[in-house]
């Protein structure tokens, strides 16, 4: 075995290896591309489905539809101005005044009020972002307040 033959063998082996590797890569890429195509098609289908669902959601959230549902199934009525009370205007129960020392006691009271307050009715869409004015605690009265 001379050096040349060894080199030849090495070259042939390298050649075979690289051919195998090239084809391996090629098939791998083809496989991945097929997968990608499927994934893309699925994504497109999903995004179309999402569009349809979003449209349907918006359709079902028509304010008139929600108002109708609320009227039939809930006891909520539109919030009246007099139902919104300032925190400062709330009377503090005597017992709690005597128990509490300072601000800590007030926080407990606020927490209790917030806990007892029913959820305000939800209207269409999210809450309005451009809120201004001071924070108020809505105290809901349900039903026949009008």
């Amino acid at each position: 075995m001379s050096m040349n033959k060894l080199a030849l063998c090495a070259w042939l082996a390298a050649c075979a290896l690289s051919i195998w590797f090239a084809f391996h890569i090629k098939y791998k890429v083809q496989e991945l591309e097929t997968e990608l195509g499927i994934a893309r098609a699925e994504m497109q289908q999903d995004s179309e489905a999402i569009r349809v669902l979003e449209a349907e959601w918006s359709f079902l959230n028509q304010p008139s539809h929600l108002a109708d549902l609320s009227e039939r199934h809930l006891d909520f009525a539109p919030l009246l101005a007099e139902q919104v009370v300032h925190l400062d205007d709330l009377p503090v129960r005597e017992s709690q005044v005597s128990d509490s020392q300072d601000s800590e006691g007030l926080e407990d009271i606020i927490e209790e009020i917030l806990r007892n307050a029913p959820e305000p009715p939800k209207k269409a869409g999210n809450s309005d972002s451009n809120g201004n004015g001071k924070r108020t605690v809505p105290l809901m009265r349900t039903g026949a307040s009008q």
């Binding site: 994504m43 569009r51 979003e54 449209a55 918006s58 539109p78 869409g125 972002s129 004015g133």
Partner: protein
């Protein structure tokens, strides 16, 4: 170059002479017969002369060629590394989101200020035929007609027999229709994927959003004015409208329309701080999903395209002009006992008081005579300039193309000045009106109106039209009208509404008709620091028993404003307060003025 030649080869058994020829330059040629080669390094022949020269040339060429090829391969290698390792990173999966996938380009959505979808594009299939390939047109037409109820058989047959390569049979099929047609298996019928515009809120926002043609070209509203932008992007276009407030406005207006048997109505809610239109309603409305079948009256946008004589709400502008020009002080007054005669016209008060009225009283009792005195003292040119500054004499700039041109007198004479002072003889759109009213109450700056949501840090184009002080005086006057005057029915508890009612007789065939009115109310709240101007207008309301036969703005439109403000106030986080201190101060102001009898005497006339 030297060639090593085995001496034994040269004299081999076959007598072949191994002369060094050009073909023997390769190694293989040294051993043509496959004999065991024995290279004897000690014995070789050195070739010279022409042979040597030829070999030298060949070698040089070989090196040159090899060099070129290796440079080329090196370049390819570098490029390969560059593409796969270096540039490959820029096209990673992270940038390939579902939104910018190829083939999904759709017309952008339109959403309201809170992101509620008002218009979106949905994928649909449309049916077309290659008429040359349809084997049995009669059969195909018969079968298709069963599936497509909207099409006549004759029409389908004509299309299928047309011999055209491409002919639409039905656009925007339902999924069920598509599968039925598919299962017919008729050759030559094909589907094309298309986008169809869908408006989930239908008639509620029809006039603002508009609609598109079957080919998705905007034909009205924002769909038309932002056509290019909507086609160019997937990002939604965010309008300033709030569907909740839009709903409240539409509901209250249609209730009033029904109660007073009116033929139409319009309403607007306008943000005085940044010029955003939060609600814009025009009734009757139409379903934009079937815009083609809507009647013209329903498609007509009364809020921006319609121009109307607004009646007494214009008295606010006259008062603002007189106060801002320093022609009157708020403590002044006029004698309203005598009707004003100009040529063949006589200007009277609707409910004459026949006495001196202070400026607040003129507005509270909506005195035409008092207002005319104010306008005449200011003069025609000042009135013209003032109304022009308020943007009432030219079409408003707005985000939709349905914009009405105001109707002005051909020649602005004294008689025009008089009638315009109380809102007759000039017709403007509700959009122009709320924009100008916004300037009166927000401290005196006229803002650019917008139907598209503005970002919080955006500076709104604005021009100063009246002073801060005049604006405050006008706000007080508006509050007094609601506390004591024709606007009492607009007083929404807790929201400090101020405003002015208006009633105008409609013109038909060039003359005013007694029983065809435009009843409106223009309000602002909370009046101590206004955020919104609200406007409601009812077209041709008829008096009913409950209102003692009245169908004026104070009876018809003011209650709409009251309920609207009561319902929208909590939604827009306006804290309800009963500011008695502020009201008392405003009241005080009225008492002061009335206590001071006499007042301003009229210079002219």
């Amino acid at each position: 170059m030297t060639i090593h030649v085995n001496p034994s080869d040269r004299l081999d058994g076959r007598g072949k002479t191994r002369a060094a020829s050009d073909t023997e330059q390769t190694g293989a040629a040294c051993n043509p017969c496959g004999l065991d080669r024995h290279i004897d390094h000690s014995a070789y022949t050195v070739l010279d002369g022409t042979v040597k020269q030829a070999l030298e040339v060949g070698k040089t060429r070989l090196i040159a060629t090899g060099l070129v090829i290796s440079v080329a391969f090196f370049a390819i290698g570098v490029r390969l590394v560059d593409l796969t390792l270096l540039q490959g990173n820029t096209r990673t999966a992270s940038s390939q989101t579902a939104k910018n996938l190829p083939g999904t380009a759709v017309r952008g959505d339109i959403v309201d200020r809170n992101g509620v979808i008002l218009a979106t594009s949905l994928p649909t299939a449309s049916l077309f035929a290659d008429a040359r390939l349809v084997p049995d047109a009669e059969f195909a037409a018969r079968e298709l007609q069963k599936i497509l109820p909207g099409k006549s058989r004759a029409e389908l047959l004509a299309k299928l027999k047309s011999g055209k390569q491409f002919v639409w049979l039905q656009r925007h099929l339902t999924p069920r229709q598509q599968s039925q047609i598919n299962s017919l298996g008729i050759p030559g019928l094909n589907f094309r994927r298309e986008q169809r515009r869908f408006y989930p809120h239908g008639a509620l926002t029809a006039h603002a959003v508009g609609f598109t043609s079957i080919d998705n070209e905007g034909l009205a509203g924002v769909e038309q004015s932002f056509d290019d932008m909507l086609n160019g992007t997937d990002d939604p276009l965010r309008l300033s409208l709030d569907v909740r407030i839009q709903h409240i406005m539409a509901e209250e207006l249609s209730a009033a329309m029904a109660e007073f048997s009116a033929i139409g109505a319009a309403g607007m809610v306008y943000d005085v701080q940044n010029g955003e239109v939060v609600s814009m309603v025009s009734l009757p409305s139409y379903n934009p999903n079937e815009a083609g079948s809507a009647v013209d009256d329903a498609r007509f946008n009364r809020a921006t395209l319609g121009v109307y004589e607004m009646g007494s709400v214009f008295k606010l502008f006259t008062a603002a002009m007189a106060l801002d020009e320093g022609i009157i002080r708020i403590s002044d007054g006029y004698d309203t006992s005598d009707p004003i005669r100009v040529g063949r016209f006589t200007i009277r008060d609707y409910k004459p008081k026949n006495r001196w009225l202070s400026i607040p009283e003129i507005l509270i009792y909506s005195s035409n005579i008092g207002t005319v005195h104010m306008a005449m003292e200011a003069g025609t040119s000042k009135q013209k300039a003032f109304l022009s500054n308020l943007g009432l004499t030219r079409p408003a700039k707005f985000d939709i193309s349905e914009i009405g041109h105001p109707r002005l007198p051909n020649r602005w004479r004294d008689v025009n000045t008089m009638t315009i002072s109380f809102g007759h003889g000039i017709a403007v759109s509700p959009l122009q009106l709320v924009r100008a009213a916004g300037a009166l109450v927000n401290g005196g700056e006229l803002k650019q109106a917008s139907l598209v949501k503005r970002s919080d840090d955006e500076t709104v184009p604005a021009t100063r039209v009246i002073s801060e002080r005049t604006s405050q005086q006008i706000r007080r006057l508006m509050r007094l009208v609601v506390l004591h005057g024709t606007g009492r029915k607009a007083n929404a508890e807790g929201f400090m509404v101020g405003g002015k009612s208006g009633t105008a007789e409609k013109i038909r065939d060039g003359r005013y008709v007694k029983n065809a009115r435009m009843s409106s109310f223009l309000g602002a709240f909370p009046i101590t620091n206004p955020r919104y101007v609200v406007f409601a207008m009812i077209d041709e309301p008829k008096g009913i028993k409950r209102t003692h036969g009245f169908a004026t703005g104070g009876w018809v439109a003011a209650p709409v404003i009251k309920r609207l403000v009561e319902r929208m106030g909590p939604l827009v986080s306006i804290e309800p307060i009963e500011d008695h201190i502020a009201d008392d101060r405003i009241e005080q102001f009225l008492v002061d003025v009335t206590a001071r009898s006499g007042g301003h005497s009229l210079a002219s006339q």
